[in-house]
Structure formats: structure tokens, C-alpha cells
């Protein structure tokens, strides 16, 4: 029965193809009750298809989607215990705000009486801080307000899972940050499972407790945000989540030393399971420290600053290293001894801890 299940959503070898095109292939996924999970990936990776299969707008070609411990194959959208916040909200233009929010309640059978409907709709509007806006028409609301209406409309039926399809994509940056906090708070308060689809890694990392990175119709990594960032499972994840420097290298026969293209060697102690042969070293920009080259400072690599992007408290530098190409380095202004910024065309030395690097087979 439902109570026995600890997973709100389960994908059991789900595949979906449209004619010859495979959108999603053989996905197995468990979303625990009350989790905030983000499906993250580039466009066309199958994340939206997955969400639509949970909502009931698409049926899997093979495999099963389970919700609340019940198989959902063949169950139409209007019978599923999930609600969705659509991209661009899909609010009904011919209804006012309250009518939009109460729509789900008006579909309930047996019918709910009008006073109760109105009470619950206004309660939902209060929850998204839109109390008193009930009689407004949709086109009189701003983008951020429409977003809240869509949220209230989806939550009014008290779904066990809330689906969010790129809900913040249409908002400006400031509003987006505010809504991220609000969504997270709301999810904690309500304790229901949120499934968010996004291509914005920052959004995924900041809001969710579980990130499901997808690529080409498959789940590449399913882990907590920090885990995904700190220990990407492959080069794709390392590239897609956050910024990454990719350095071509070769692993020695004994698997303990890494040789870079310029001939320099790095010892990589404590790494097991590395196969000898060519590899890619993935290094976060903030894992590299940058110092002015003033003769004495020893460094692993030296190069010349070609570009600088000023970011306020820190700056991104593009550093050309002979024989290894361009490096992206994020340096905190505090960490530079004298003057707080390095100028383009200055020579610098770069240091990094090989332990902070990820090594993937090329």
C-alpha cells in the first residue's frame, strides 16, 4: 500500500521514444518522500519528458512510472495525485486570479461547496502572499505575481508531488533569487515532494536536496548538490555543473603519477583504480591559486593573464600557460597579497593541489 512506500516517485526502466528519436532511455530513479529533487541537464536531455511522464502528459514507451507506490501507466493526468507549475505558467486568461486558483477545487467530485472553495482558494493565495488579489485579471498581474498564482493554483489541491517546469526562467535575476528562497521555504513547510526541471545549475544547486543530472536521455548522476559539485561522476557533470578546466594528461603505468602535456609530472597519491593511459584532469577555477610572479614564488605552472572579468569580491582570470593552453582561475581579492587585482599581461604563477583535481579517462 501507499504507506509502505518511502518513495513518492519511482522510474522503473523507463524509456520514451518519438518515432525514431529516443528522448529518454532506460531511466531508473527513486525520489524519496518529501525531497526537493532537481532534474538538471542541457536542453534536449530528456528532463522535461521525464516531468511530463510524471504529470501524465506523456506515456512511457517501455517501463513504468510509480507515484505513491502505485503504477501510473495508463492513468490519465486528471487522476494523478500530482500538480504542475507550467513553464510560462499556463494560467487561464478568461478567469480572474481566484477562479484560476480555485479551478482544481471546482473539479473535485463529490463537489465542494462554494464557500469552502473560496476559503481554500484565498488561503492558497495568502500562502503565496497574494491575499486580496483574487479579483484581478491575469493580464493585470506582473510576471512574478503570475508565477505565484501558478504556484497557488497547483498547491490548492494539496498534491503529494509538485512538478515545476523551469518555473523561474521568465523572471529577472533579483526576483529569481527571491523566488528560489521562497520555493525552498514553501517546500520545507509543506513537506511535499518537489520535482524541479531546470537547465540552470545554480538554481538546481541552491534549491534542491537531490540533483539528478541528465544527459542524452540518461541519468548521469543522482546525488546531493554538494556531492555533484565536489565529486562529479564524469567529465560531462564536471563541465555542466560549475566551471571546469580540462587538462589533457597521461597516467603512468603504475597509476601514481600524472604527466601533463608540457612534460611536468604530478604525483597523485591515494588514487586507486586509475587506468594508465591518456586522461583528462578536471580542475575547478577556484581550486587554483594565482600569484604574481616575482621571482621567489614557486609555482607549478606559470603563464600570462590574457583577460580579466571583474566580479566584485573576486575576479575570473584567463591565464595562458605555455604548452597547456588557457586556464580559467577564480581568485578572491583577499587572497592576493598586495593590490587586489592582477592586470592583464602580467605574468603569474598557478598552484593547485592535485588532490582537488578529478581525473577521468579520456
Amino acid at each position: 500500500m501507499t504507506s509502505a512506500s518511502t518513495n513518492d516517485i519511482e522510474f522503473r526502466s523507463v524509456s520514451k521514444s518519438y518515432g525514431a528519436v529516443t528522448a529518454v532511455s532506460d531511466i531508473n530513479l527513486q525520489v524519496p518522500k518529501g525531497a526537493f529533487v532537481a532534474l538538471l541537464g542541457p536542453s534536449g536531455c530528456g528532463k522535461t519528458t521525464c516531468l511530463r511522464m510524471i504529470g501524465g502528459f506523456e506515456q512511457p514507451t517501455t517501463g513504468e512510472v510509480w507515484i505513491n507506490g502505485q503504477p501510473m501507466n495508463g492513468v490519465p493526468a486528471y487522476r494523478r495525485p500530482v500538480n504542475m507549475v507550467f513553464q510560462q505558467y499556463a494560467l487561464f486568461p478568461h478567469f480572474d486570479v481566484e477562479q484560476n486558483v480555485s479551478y482544481g477545487l471546482r473539479q473535485a467530485r463529490p463537489r465542494i461547496n462554494a464557500r469552502e472553495i473560496s476559503r481554500r482558494a484565498n488561503e492558497a493565495l495568502e500562502m503565496v502572499r497574494l491575499g486580496g488579489f483574487g479579483k484581478r485579471r491575469i493580464h493585470e498581474m506582473s510576471g512574478g505575481q503570475q508565477q505565484r498564482v501558478a504556484l497557488a493554483r497547483a498547491l490548492v489541491n494539496k498534491p503529494s508531488v509538485l512538478l515545476l517546469d523551469e518555473p523561474l526562467a521568465a523572471l529577472d535575476k533579483k526576483l529569481r533569487t527571491a523566488m528560489q528562497i521562497e520555493l525552498q521555504t514553501l517546500q520545507r513547510e509543506l513537506g511535499i515532494t518537489f520535482v524541479l526541471v531546470t537547465h540552470d545549475q545554480e538554481e538546481a544547486l541552491s534549491m534542491s536536496d537531490l540533483v539528478c543530472v541528465m544527459n542524452a536521455g540518461r541519468v548521469v548522476q543522482l546525488a546531493a548538490p554538494r556531492e555533484v559539485y565536489d565529486r562529479p561522476s564524469d567529465l560531462f557533470v564536471a563541465d555542466f555543473v560549475g566551471k571546469t578546466n580540462r587538462i589533457a594528461a597521461t597516467v603512468d603505468a603504475d597509476g601514481s603519477t600524472l604527466r601533463l602535456a608540457d612534460g611536468s609530472a604530478l604525483s597523485i597519491p591515494g588514487r586507486t583504480g586509475l587506468k594508465s593511459g591518456s586522461a583528462i584532469l578536471a580542475l575547478r577555477p577556484e581550486a587554483i591559486s594565482l600569484h604574481r610572479q616575482n621571482g621567489s614564488a614557486p609555482g607549478k605552472l606559470s603563464g600570462i593573464v590574457t583577460h580579466r572579468i571583474f566580479l566584485g569580491s573576486s575576479a575570473d582570470y584567463s591565464v595562458a600557460v605555455e604548452g597547456l593552453g588557457d586556464f580559467l582561475v577564480t581568485a578572491d581579492r583577499r587572497d592576493l597579497a598586495d593590490g587586489d587585482l592582477v592586470e592583464p599581461n602580467e605574468w603569474v604563477v598557478l598552484n593547485f593541489d592535485p588532490g582537488a583535481a578529478h581525473i577521468f579517462p579520456a
Binding site: 504529470g55 507550467f86 513553464q87 499556463a90 479551478y103 473539479q107
Partner: protein, 288 residues
Amino acid sequence: MALALNTKRRMVTAALVAPAVAWLFIFLVLPFIAMLVFSVGERAPEGGYQPAFTFAQFANLPARSAAFWNTVILAPVGSFVCLVVAYPVAYYLAVKTSPRYRLLLVSLVVVPFWTSLLVRTYAWMYLLGSRGIPNLLGMIGFEEVRILNTPGAVLLGIVYGYLPLMIMPIYVSLEKLDRRLLEASADLGARPVSTFFSVTLPLSLPGVMTGLALVTILLLGEYLIPQLLGGGKVFFIGNALVDLFLQSRNWPFGSAIAVTLVVVVVFVLLIAMRIAWKIAGTRQVDLV
């Protein structure tokens, strides 16, 4: 300088609008004024018009009440039957067909317009006449069925003739309908029938009202179909007008009937559009 530019822009606008205004003034406003003047005049002894100021013509309207009622009833009924037949077709074309065949199917809707309505109505005359369908019915035992020259035949003719004009505006408004609204409705627990009546139908109302207005207005002035399929000379107001202007040459009475018709149409249309705007919450009008 700015003033000169402004004046120039205004003159360009005037030049662009002038032909249409002149056309409408000469062929719509002037004739309508003439009609108003005629309607309060008297019939000259030899036919035509002689100046006077009397409402006798309007008082005489009941003399053509049969034509008036035929028109005022059959035009809305005909356009409503058109709607009932057209909506499912438009829905199928806009929502259910794959985009690949849509253009082909939509163009099939307008194919009948490639042949003159006169020819097609003559074909109906034959089909409904004694050698057509009644003849076939006679063979299976239903003797003496009369279809031609009945209100039913006129209704059939006008629904047939005006169907494409009803399908097109409804098709346009359904095609523009955001599919995600239908998904949102289903997501919130609405069954397909409920989704249709709460979302699809209200949002296609501008198209429905455009179609209804278009077909009703054209039907109110219809002459050909009632003439050929309706028998009697004065079946519709259009037929009565032809009779009054060309046969009995009672221009003032004809004008009075025409003025009354225009007033009724404008009145009905104003109310209908107001209702549609209110329900759809927008003032857009879907024209083809």
C-alpha cells in the same frame, strides 16, 4: 520643423485612408441616407419615389411580416445549425489533425467556393426536387415526400452554403488556443468534457461569435437560396426587397423594410459582441 513633419505625416495618412473613405461614403453612406429619405416618402403614382414625410411605410410593415419572420427566424436558426455542424469540424482540424495534413484539409473546406453558389444551389434544386431524393424515398415506400420549396430545404441550403464561413473563424481561434492550458486543466483534475466546457469553448468564443455574426448578417440579406429552394417569391426579406424595388416599384416601402432590417441587425450584433467580450474577457475579434 516638427510641425511640418507632423503635417506631412498627417497628409500621408489622409492619402492612404482617402480611397476607402470615399468608397464607403459613396457606396454605403450616401445610399443609406437615400434609403432613409425614401423610407419616409411616398410611392409615386407611376412607381418609384415622391417626396413626403410620413411614417405610413413603417406602419405598413406587417404586410410583409411573413418574409420578415422567415428571415428573422431562419437566419439565426440557420447560423446556429451551421455552428453545431462547424464546431466539431473546426475542432478536429485545429486540435486533432496532424500538422502535416492540416493545410490540405483546411483548403478542402474552401474548395466549394471554387464553384459558383448559383450552380451548387441548382444542384440542390435537382437533388431535393421530385426526381431527386423524394424519388428515391418513393422507391422504398415513402411516397409523396416534398422537400423542395419548404423552409427545411431553405435551411439545408443555407447551412450548406455558409458552412465554410462558420468553420474558418472557429478554426482560427481554436488553432491559437494554447495547448498547455488544456494540459493545465487536466493536471488540475478536469476530465476531458469538463476541460472542453471550462477552457476550450470559452476561449474559442470570439471565433464562434465572429462566425455567428458573419453568417447571420449575410443570411439576413440572402436572396438566392430562398428564391431557388424556398419557392414563393417573398420568402426572405431579400426576396421581398427585390420584388418591391423591381416588380411593384414601391421604393419607399422597400426602403422602410431595409431600414428596419439594418436597425435590427445592428442591435442584435451589439448585444452579441458584448456578451462574447464579457465571457472571453478580451476584445479581440477573430477574422479569417
